[in-house]
Structure formats: structure tokens, C-alpha cells
């Protein structure tokens, strides 16, 4: 058990420091670690946990305590939350003190502009990996495509789109 908690702590501490561009960029690595390397759950289960976290209120990284809970119960929640939010918070604390000094330096803009396509690539990869795990039957592929189109082209509330997907899923149409 302790070994599992230490492993969880190391995985999420690393993810914490690599999450440039927000939480969605680290989903494939999280999935790779908990599914492919440590076999704590299947890719479909990971997709389901991600969906649960999206349906809950608050910041979009709530899949983190959920993975911790799934793997190691409440101590898992504590360990993954601390490991995921601790290191990045420390970086934020230190950076806040340096920020004033570098605010107007031109290199700061260059670095920021350089990180935009990296973030875009990682989020696109996340979308591919999560869709691959969650949309495996024609019914779920249609739901994913429908939600993607609706939320890209209209201002529909994300929660409404999730609810619509759940209701369509409930019918069982196109699902095994």
C-alpha cells in the first residue's frame, strides 16, 4: 500500500510540474501511467473517471483526486491532491516574487508565444487519446461528434452538453 502511495505521489508530482497550459495537457501522460504502466484501471475506466470529473463543479483537474480514490481510497485522494497541487503551487509562489521584475522583458513574450502551439498540440493529443478510450461504439462516436460540433459552433453550456450526452447514452442506442 505504501509503495502504491509513493508511486502515486511521484507520478502526480511530476505531472504537476509538467502541466504547462493547464490540466488538459497532461491527460495522455496520466492515462499512460495509470493504465499502460501500472495497470490500475482500463482506458475505458480512465475515460469514465475523466467524464465524472468534468460533470463535477470546480477546476478541471478533479480527475486527480478521483484517480487517487480509485487506486488507494482516501489516502490516495490525499496523496494525489498534495502531489498534484503542491509542487505547482510552490512554483507559483516563487514566480510571483520574480514576476514584477520580468514583466516587461521582451523574452517573456517570446516564451509565451512559443508555448502556445505546444499547449495546442498537447490538448489535441489529449482529445484524441480520451476520445479513443471513450467513443468505441457507433453510438458513443455520434455523441462525441455531436457534442464537439455543438460546443464549437454554438454557445451551449458545457454542462448541458454533458447532460444531453448522458441522456442519449441512457437509451443504450449504439452501445454494446
Amino acid at each position: 500500500m505504501t509503495a502504491t502511495l509513493v508511486t502515486l505521489a511521484l507520478i502526480f508530482a511530476e505531472l504537476s510540474l509538467l502541466a504547462f497550459g493547464g490540466g488538459n495537457t497532461i491527460l495522455p501522460e496520466m492515462q499512460r501511467q495509470v493504465v499502460d504502466i501500472h495497470h490500475w484501471m482500463s482506458a475505458q475506466e480512465f475515460g469514465a473517471l475523466f467524464a465524472l470529473a468534468q460533470a463535477a463543479p470546480g477546476p478541471n483537474m478533479m480527475v486527480v483526486p478521483l484517480v487517487g480514490w480509485h487506486v488507494a481510497g482516501f489516502s490516495g485522494v490525499l496523496v494525489t491532491s498534495l502531489a498534484k497541487f503542491g509542487p505547482s503551487s510552490l512554483v507559483t509562489g516563487f514566480a510571483l516574487q520574480l514576476w514584477e521584475r520580468f514583466k516587461d522583458r521582451p523574452w517573456r513574450k517570446t516564451v509565451q508565444a512559443g508555448l502556445v502551439p505546444v499547449t495546442a498540440g498537447l490538448v489535441t493529443a489529449s482529445a484524441i487519446v480520451i476520445t479513443h478510450a471513450s467513443a468505441s461504439s457507433w453510438g458513443t462516436i455520434l455523441i462525441a461528434a455531436g457534442v464537439a460540433i455543438a460546443t464549437t459552433t454554438t454557445r451551449i453550456h458545457p454542462l448541458l452538453a454533458l447532460a444531453a450526452g448522458a441522456v442519449l447514452g441512457l437509451t443504450g442506442i449504439g452501445q454494446p
Binding site: 505531472l15 504537476s16 509538467l18 502541466a19 504547462f20 493547464g22 490540466g23 491527460l27 499512460r32 499502460d36 475505458q44 475515460g47 469514465a48 473517471l49 467524464a51 465524472l52 463535477a56 463543479p57 470546480g58 477546476p59 478533479m62 478521483l66 480514490w69 497541487f85 505547482s88 503551487s89 507559483t92 509562489g93 514566480a95 510571483l96 517570446t110 516564451v111 509565451q112 508555448l115 502556445v116 502551439p117 505546444v118 495546442a120 498540440g121 498537447l122 490538448v123 493529443a125 482529445a127 487519446v129 476520445t131 478510450a133 471513450s134 461504439s137 453510438g139 458513443t140 462525441a144 457534442v147 464537439a148 464549437t152 454533458l162 450526452g165 448522458a166 447514452g169 441512457l170 443504450g172
Partner: protein, 188 residues
């Protein structure tokens, strides 16, 4: 001529540890599907902790750092007003309710995961969540559609992570410097 814009000289409300906790607690409670617009409303308009310019400046910093924007923002705002106790109060306030809710949903899911109806429900929910992520990816990548260097980096990132399933650390350590280097050359 006005020496300094009014927004920078106006004295704002300085929240204590308890107010930081409750402010972010309510935010965590209500922020469905993206907390950022609500965060701005709470800190700038409703509670008057920050000016609009200060908010944008802090957000710029938080986007630049690893971690979720809003999580980092809560830490930065807490630190700014009340040091380390303030930072702890802010982040704990922000994630308390969402953590409890998500675990509650997790318990329900694992209890009924074998029921075909619940399985179908969560199948639809998961597919919809994937659809939302596709939409997010499109919105982030769209401004780069005529940017050849940007698209090159996007493609390399997708290839490395989604197709080859390479680890994130070496991918990031290669792609980020490469992308910044290309920008710097483009600028000069």
C-alpha cells in the same frame, strides 16, 4: 494629464484568511464547466479584491506556469494578501467541494458500474466529455491555422503523445525549447 490610471491607485478590499477561503469555496461550488469567467467576476466585480488590470496581470503569470490557471490563481491571490496561510485557505477552499462531489460520483459509479443502464449512462457521459475536449482543442488550435511554424509544433506534439505515446517529460523538454527558438528567430 493623469499620472497614473485610476485603476492602479484605487484602494481595493484586502481579504483576510477567512474571506479568501469563503470566496474560493463559493467559486468551487458554483464553477461548472470552467471557473475562469466566474473567478474574474468574484475577485474584480463582486468582492473588489483586485483591479481588472491586476487580475489580467496575475492571470498572465498563472498561464505561464505549470498547473491549472485557476488553481495557481488562488495560490497567487492568497499569497498576495495573506502569505502562506492565505494561499492554503484559498486553494483548500477552491478544491474542497469539487473533491467531495467527484468522490461521491465515483462511489456511485463504482457501485453500479455493472448495471447496464448505468453503464450506458456513463458511456454517453464519457463520450460527451470527450466531445467537449475535442471542442477545447479546436478552440485552442484555431488561432494557429495560418501559422506554419505553430502547426508544425502542434503536429509534432500530437504525433509524440497521441500516436507514438511517448512520455511527456522528454516530449516537453524537446518541443518547448524548439518552439520558443523558432519564435525567437521569427521575431528577429
Amino acid at each position: 494629464m493623469d499620472a497614473i490610471p485610476a485603476a492602479q491607485t484605487t484602494k481595493h478590499v484586502s481579504p483576510d484568511v477567512g474571506e479568501l477561503f469563503t470566496g474560493f469555496f463559493v467559486l468551487g461550488l458554483t464553477g461548472f464547466g470552467g471557473v475562469l469567467p466566474l473567478a474574474r467576476h468574484m475577485m474584480v466585480e463582486k468582492r473588489d479584491w483586485l483591479s481588472s488590470a491586476e487580475f489580467t496581470d496575475l492571470l498572465g503569470l498563472c498561464q505561464f506556469l505549470p498547473g491549472g490557471n485557476i488553481i495557481n490563481m488562488s495560490v497567487a491571490v492568497g499569497l498576495k494578501f495573506r502569505g502562506i496561510p492565505g494561499a492554503l485557505a484559498s486553494i483548500l477552499g477552491l478544491i474542497a467541494v469539487p473533491t467531495a462531489v467527484v468522490i461521491g460520483l465515483g462511489v456511485i459509479y463504482s457501485q453500479f458500474a455493472n448495471d447496464p443502464v448505468v453503464r450506458h449512462l456513463f458511456g454517453g457521459l464519457a463520450a460527451a466529455a470527450a466531445g467537449l475536449l475535442i471542442s477545447t482543442a479546436i478552440k485552442i488550435a484555431w488561432p494557429l491555422r495560418r501559422d506554419v511554424l505553430g502547426l508544425l509544433i502542434v503536429t509534432l506534439g500530437v504525433l509524440a503523445i497521441a500516436v507514438l505515446r511517448l512520455p511527456l517529460l522528454p516530449t516537453l523538454l524537446t518541443l518547448a525549447p524548439l518552439s520558443i527558438f523558432l519564435r525567437a528567430r521569427q521575431a528577429s
